[in-house]
């Protein structure tokens, strides 16, 4: 073990676990560092969205699959409740000076590091006029995921599923909030969640308010085919959400295609919030000497995984927004680049 080349993976979310497994599969010893008390990160809060027993390819179960594979894998040492305090370069190697839960200091010296620090959810409060936290029955997609994951489909019985509005691009593609990018995942998870709600309450009227629905991707084909006729899809974004009559949520929107202004009320409003760089991304970038792109994600070379610092690679959502499956694929690619860097071949 000690004579093997080693790498450190920072972040124990789905990308970090996938990258560690890929390296371990090649016989490279890996140190996996996770800040929280458990592995999983954001991927662990994604619920299963199968409809009628048919998988919708959301990837919610992949975290558990990967965790099980990690239990069996040889050569991955996991350090929980550990975070990097300082990074030093020592003769081409990176020394990670870490701190553990009770202030215990720990240091590792490795030739290569894969950053897989993931993302933060965009706070729905960034869109003040949408009244999250002020109006009843305005929830985020993430709240709905957590509800379904924690309590299963019975949770749907407690939701007011008469008329439901999904509002897309809450925080994403929004230059006023400094996020001009598409978060990639929100249209897909919202469409899948809508199908789950519809399965529980077939008579529910579900409407989508969107700029453009992003439904490409092989994993989306079946869901989109099933969703296309099932939901009302409105091109137009609501301006201000208000308290309506009988505990409903009311808002006015302009239908882009006709220019008509319409006021409608809904029993439940789901805000499809997106992905933003972690709050500590700038700190990490400074520690490792990385660049960030204009949106704050780690900047990489055109291969998408190598940062401008030799021996430091980025995997998953810390580099750009990605779905769970895409994060895994990206992590494989980062591990590959890392192996090439380690010179692990004749």
């Amino acid at each position: 073990m000690s004579d093997r080349p080693r790498a450190a993976v920072i972040g124990g979310g789905i990308a970090g676990i996938a990258a560690s497994l890929n390296l371990a599969q090649r016989g490279i010893g890996v140190i996996l560092i996770e800040r929280e008390a458990q592995l999983g990160g954001n991927a662990s809060t994604v619920c299963c969205k199968a409809v009628g027993g048919v998988c919708q390819h959301c990837g919610g179960c992949l975290f558990r699959d990967h965790l099980r594979a990690l239990e069996r894998a040889e050569g991955v040492s996991v350090f929980l409740q550990t975070h990097v305090e300082r990074v030093e370069r020592r003769e081409g190697r990176l020394a990670l000076l870490c701190e553990r839960a009770q202030g215990e200091a720990l240091s590792f010296e490795v030739p290569a590091v894969i950053l897989a620090t993931g993302f933060d959810h965009i706070s729905p409060l960034a869109k003040g006029p949408y009244g999250y936290g002020l109006l009843p029955h305005v929830i985020t997609g993430r709240d709905l995921e957590a509800l379904l994951q924690g309590r299963g489909r019975t949770a749907c019985n407690e939701l007011p599923l008469g008329k439901v509005a999904f509002i897309q691009c809450v925080g994403s593609r929004d230059e006023h909030n400094g996020r001009g990018y598409c978060s990639q995942v929100c249209c897909r998870y919202a469409l899948r969640l809508a199908r789950v709600l519809q399965e529980s309450r077939p008579e529910a009227e579900i409407a989508f308010f969107k700029m453009d629905l992003q439904t490409s991707g092989r994993d989306m084909a079946e869901t989109w085919a099933a969703a296309r006729g099932a939901f009302r899809i409105v091109a137009g974004m609501p301006a201000l959400l208000e308290r309506g009559a009988e505990g409903k949520v009311a808002f006015r929107y302009e239908e882009v295609l006709t220019g008509r202004q319409i006021r409608e009320s809904f029993d439940l409003v789901v805000l499809a919030t997106g992905i933003q760089p972690r709050a500590d991304a700038a700190l990490l970038a400074e520690q490792f000497g990385l660049n960030q792109d204009p949106s704050g994600f780690f900047a990489t070379a055109p291969d998408g995984v190598s940062t401008l610092v030799p021996g430091v690679f980025a995997a998953g959502c810390c580099q750009a927004p990605r779905s769970i499956a895409e994060s895994i694929a990206h992590a494989h690619q980062a591990a590959q680049a890392c192996v090439l860097y380690l010179g692990g071949r004749a």
Partner: protein
Amino acid sequence: MNPMPGRPRGVIVLGAAPEALCAVRELAALGYAVAWLPLEEAQAPAALPPNVAIYPAAELVGLGGYAGAFCAQVRRGEAIECLPGAAVLIALGNARCYPQERYGLPLGPRVLTPPQARQRLKDRTLEALLSHRKAHFLVMLDWGGETSRETAVEALHTARALRQNHAEVTLFYRDLKVDSAPLERLTRRMREEGVVFCRYIEVEVRFEEGGVHIAAPDGLVRGDMLILPEAVQPHPATLPLAALLKLRVGKDGYFQEVNVRQVRPGLTNRKGIYVAGRCHMDADREAALEDVSHVVASLDAFLHSLDEPPSGPTAEVERDRCIRCLTCVRTCPHAAAEVVEREGITAAYVEKAACWGCGICAAHCPVQAIALKGQAVPSWLAPTAQGVSIR
């Protein structure tokens, strides 16, 4: 457990798409000896790495062996040659067509596809039109059905090229698929450069007075030329190749990876055979090449895992009980079972290196001659005195 395997390994790459060249280069950079069979007329690239052998006029007639030791039977002229490889990567690409029945419009002097428009820009045959100041091109996405990602991106690039040649360009769309940062940047730049984006649900197209008229929600738009994107379809070699290699093809006619959730990117139903790029997904060029990188990474990790002792269960046949009914050969989704003569007995045999341990053959065997061996008890199934309890 050696991270630097001593024995050099080969990979067989099939297909002539740009993805294939990209895969060949990436695999060669990883130190694999690559045997590249384009399977169709293709121009060989000028410089290939030394560890790549290209077989331009070769026909694939069969694939023997299993993961780690495949053997591609290749006909070159009269002789049949056997090319060894530890894994196979397929990058056929896709095929294009102009979907006339979808649009209800034949191509003509006023209706062009994006590649035709670009060709005419290059040949300067659009010059006369572009010289009068208000040449107006109408680009129509998602008409009569969704435009594929690849051709939609091509249409966007064409619209931009026309705009940069000082034409007016109006682009009609339903949903602008910009779910990647480069595409988002592209459309933003196009807007800044003056391409008009117009959303529609239903439009009516008429040809009048030598022009094209589109009745759009914002009013009538008059243009000189209509640009309609092509459609993509599976490469014609997909089905024959799938039949030859016993690979699964999806309902849409493209190669079906074993798991679209990308747990193992690009892996087919047969261990060691991978598909990459547009022969299994709808992608623009950048996304297809990115997929190649993912698939190569997954393939490389797989080939390294071959050095390790096999983990997980595999099916094993009690060969003297076998009645040679071929049930396992038919039911195995991974083409791992065959009936062969070994040690004087002709009976079913499951190749360990090709077996996923799914247990389907064991479940179907009418004489219970197949069992899964090497199955570890999962950690959540703890044996107790009473038997097994699920924690």
